[in-house]
Symmetry: C2
Subunit: 578 residues, 2 copies
């Protein structure tokens, strides 16, 4: 799996990592072009895949980091202070102390590192980025523990989404960036016909980076949501400063430390990737993200998190000339019209609602059901019967505490817990009706973890204020509409206005499916149809599924389309007669 390239300097000729990663780049590029299935990094945490000692080594490394100074970043420019206040959503305090970044010195170091990285060229940068990802992959078990104990994800999900799936997204960003850069030839002989001899010019095209790139991480998917921006910026020549969420520093600290080592081994400046950690920020005071965003050196910003800061970036950073790629929040919607596989639908829905307690930006929240009920292979179900079946499927799926914690994970913060622990009060406030209450689940290993099963609240379609705010965490709405037509119209309108990262439909009627595709195109959201098996609406596959679209207010970017990478570099021509 891991490449053992140990080059320490670039030579006059080709960089040795080019040969080492040529096949990977080729395969990834082909997959991206046709959007077919491709995964470089195995999603199974099995020792058969990652090595006999990998699970234990990973756990040991994580335990060693706890309560310690994070020395792997000791060579960053530092203020001399330490920061860090991470507490696992599962209970334990992490106690990792990170060196605080000296921002002035870090910006200067980043800019100094740029020219050699720029001049290395797109292909060498891509190969070095692949090497970074390979080295990250080798430490996937350690990363899994770091992601689990910062995000609250269950272990297997932490491994998969925090490890190989994030790494595949990184590789996708690298080849997307490479493809766009390689569309620009390095040189051309230009011949304009003229009377007599043609006019001949040689034109050289040079790809230049935009400036320092800032990546602002989130609490729930510290690696998965940060890697596309990080690697897209780095692969296009920009030095990157990573600002993790105060409660999810460790996964990105590991990432940055690995990247810096890999860069140095490849003969480049470690300052191309730097970490700007901070501890918990007092309510009402500005965090480091604002300071960094407004630095004149910063040209690119990738952000994942709540719409509050996202709107601040739009209001303040964008007019200051920064290019911002933001993923925020929306109303993920499922329209149920009919199904020929009720059992499959219920199982799929139960999983989608339960996974990580609905704390995914892609988790479904709004489920439209017609008041007249739905047709199924088990007969007609009234609205109430359908609601009951869905509630029953969730209750059954999460009935066993020991199994449930491996799907639900832990609630990430007090905001989520507040909603999950008093659903009746929430329902009353919103004018809804509790169809399924959230249940407290005991975690045998981590008794302090607050683990909750999904709740369902029924509301009428007319009660739009109830369901047009993002309700992050394990509460979803069953929305009673007059008909599937009203379901589709409300879906279209609310997602256009409030955004959405995902959408799904269940119908046996091809006309309804076609109408849903039209509504999804108008709403600017990706659509999953009749998922009844092992593919879930909240999951997107690198190289094939776009994560987000940029076409509605939930996000201004998609992982990974051309727009996500092509603005991160510019082309400078020099031309002369020959």
């Amino acid at each position: 799996m891991t490449t053992t390239a140990t080059t320490t300097t670039t030579t006059g000729g080709q960089h040795p990592l080019l040969e080492a990663h040529r096949e990977t780049l080729e395969a990834a590029r082909t997959a991206l072009a046709d959007r077919s299935y491709y995964s470089r990094y195995p999603e199974s945490p099995s020792p058969r895949v990652y090595g006999e000692s990998a699970p234990q080594d990973g756990q040991n490394a994580f335990e060693k980091a706890r309560g310690s100074d994070f020395d792997a970043l000791a060579d960053q420019p530092s203020t001399g202070q330490s920061v860090g206040s991470e507490v696992s959503p599962y209970g334990p305090t992490l106690g990792v102390r990170y060196p605080q970044l000296d921002v002035d010195a870090a910006m200067a170091a980043a800019r100094t590192a740029m020219p050699a990285w720029r001049d290395a060229g797109a292909l060498t940068r891509a190969a070095v980025c692949v090497e970074i990802v390979e080295q990250i992959n080798a430490r996937s078990h350690e990363m899994a523990h770091a992601v689990m104990h910062t995000s609250g994800q269950p272990f297997v999900m932490s491994f998969q989404a925090g490890g190989p799936h994030a790494q595949d997204r990184a590789l996708e960003a690298v080849v997307a960036a490479l493809a766009e850069q390689e569309r620009v030839p390095s040189s051309v002989l230009w011949e304009k016909p003229a009377k007599g001899e043609p006019i001949r010019m040689r034109k050289d095209y040079r790809i230049v980076p935009r400036g320092v790139a800032l990546v602002i991480g989130c609490n729930t998917f510290p690696t998965w949501n940060s890697y596309p921006g990080l690697f897209a910026s780095l692969a296009t020549g920009n030095p990157v400063i990573v600002k993790p969420h105060p409660r999810a520093v460790l996964p990105l600290a590991l990432t940055v430390a690995i990247a810096r080592d890999a860069l140095a081994q490849a003969g480049f400046d470690r300052a191309l990737v730097q970490l700007a950690p901070e501890g918990d920020v007092a309510q009402g005071s500005d965090g480091l993200a604002k300071t960094l965003s407004m630095r004149p050196e910063v040209a690119l910003i990738d952000y994942t998190g709540g719409p509050g800061f996202g709107q601040w970036l739009e209001r303040e950073a964008t007019p200051a000339g920064k290019l911002v790629y933001a993923e925020m929040a929306g109303l993920n919607t499922i329209v149920i019209d009919s199904t020929d596989d009720l059992r499959g639908m219920l199982g799929n829905l139960a999983f989608s609602f339960s996974l990580y307690s609905g704390q995914m930006c892609t988790a479904p929240q709004n489920l439209y059901l017609p008041a007249e009920g739905i047709s199924t292979d088990q007969g007609e179900l009234s609205f109430e019967e359908a609601a009951e079946q869905i509630a029953g499927a969730i209750a059954k799926f999460t009935a066993d505490d020991a199994k449930a914690v491996e799907i639900l994970g832990a609630t990430v913060n007090d905001d989520v817990r507040g909603r999950a622990t008093d659903v009746p009060a929430l329902a009353q406030r919103l004018g809804g009706e509790v169809v399924l209450d959230s249940r407290a689940v005991e975690h045998a290993t981590y008794p302090d973890a607050v683990v909750r099963t999904p709740a369902l609240v029924a509301v009428d379609a007319g009660n739009e204020t109830a369901y047009t705010n993002e309700c992050f965490g394990p509460v979803a709405f069953l929305i009673r509409t007059a008909s599937t037509d009203e379901s589709l119209e409300t879906f279209r309108r609310t997602v256009r206005e409030h955004g959405g990262m995902t959408a799904a439909v269940y119908s046996t009627d091809e006309q309804v499916l076609e109408a849903t595709r039209e509504a999804a195109a108008d709403a600017g959201v990706a659509l999953s149809e009749n998922l009844t098996g092992q593919i879930f609406v909240n999951q997107t596959a690198a190289f094939s599924d776009y994560h987000g679209t940029g076409a509605n207010p939930a996000a201004t970017a998609a992982y990974t389309d051309a727009a996500f990478v092509s603005g991160r570099f510019r082309v400078i021509t020099s031309r002369r007669h020959v």
Copy 2:
């Protein structure tokens, strides 16, 4: 030259324009990919190329439009009022009355027109766009008169830059947009290996437009600067509203009228392209551009003009979620170190300074010369001698009034005239010294035209305030530096800070050339080296030269790179098991 496709409806199968323009699209796409020489539209206005009667027909059509209602746009939604206050920079009042657009109705019509255009697909849209450009090309002579009498460009330049060169830029934008859209496959069968049978999904990818696109034109290059944005937006599925400069409406009115007819002939809605004309706007009051920019329907804005409105767009429209592509102003720079072809250099410079009286956004303004002078094939020249030679070359080149007017054109507005007609006062205010005064040139045909030759003002490099504002029009600065090193450092720093659309260098020293390339890469500006023949720093060739870079404050976009087109559409996926 012109295709006579007369299709009036789209059929169930392939659109007939696909076959008609297949070869053009193929040739243009190939040229764009390798950035080699390509031009679809002949730049010679000769009757041998455009037809015996073309010159006269064009003139007749222009004369007919004068003093009339512009009926070709009578089918637009209108307020019932007419607007129009164009006066030729050559003197005559145009007197064309345009129907004022009913903005509410126009926005509604534009949105109604979207779905069918979206669903036509990228290739059909590209073919229809080519058809529009072909029909525009057929009216190049008429367009030349319209451009001449709104911009003040001399006739041949009006023909070339306003006609075929602009048309080539349009075609470039169309194929750049096509290439980016075609990178997204329409469908894929995705197979993920699993225990037993693989998981199979069919995924369809649909390209959707962003919304209504607004194109805000400028006075000096109404077509050349508007076509890339217009056609990039249209080719990616967005309906376009064109807001011309109040003093340069006619060229874009012709363009929009032709586009609407071509769209209707091809079976699409005329409302995909609409004109929003206005008359002169009172000082201090908001023009129509602000109103249109802030309309909720508007998602994309292309703007060419002064930095004042450009900064307003950045401050107001960008935070409102509009994607803005702006070309504003900068300090176009020439560094002279040495030359082995003094005569060629002087001739080339004289032309570049004189062409359209320096009223091009690409015209050189700041010319750095070392105080110690320069080496040439005619011996060493002191700063004063070099300045004198350049002044002499300009004076000689513009000595004959009848010939000069065909290069200089007319000054476009009072602002330019103010600077050009009292250069000694300007020089005194700036602390500089007049090396060459601007001369009033008599225009035999248009005695009211204010035609001025270029002036040169010498300033010391230390007097930075004198030369770090754009001085639009026929005044350039000879900047006395301590050495070529100081020239390059000042070039790098001032263009990074204030922007620049073009740069050039003259040197016989390969090290100086290499250092200049580095400085240009840092400053983010395209570089021309040792131009001594028939290629000029102010000219960029479609398909090969990028116009602007987006890498410095002069512009946020380049004609035409991937970043210019890839953000104009989004991709919506729908996936299902098969």
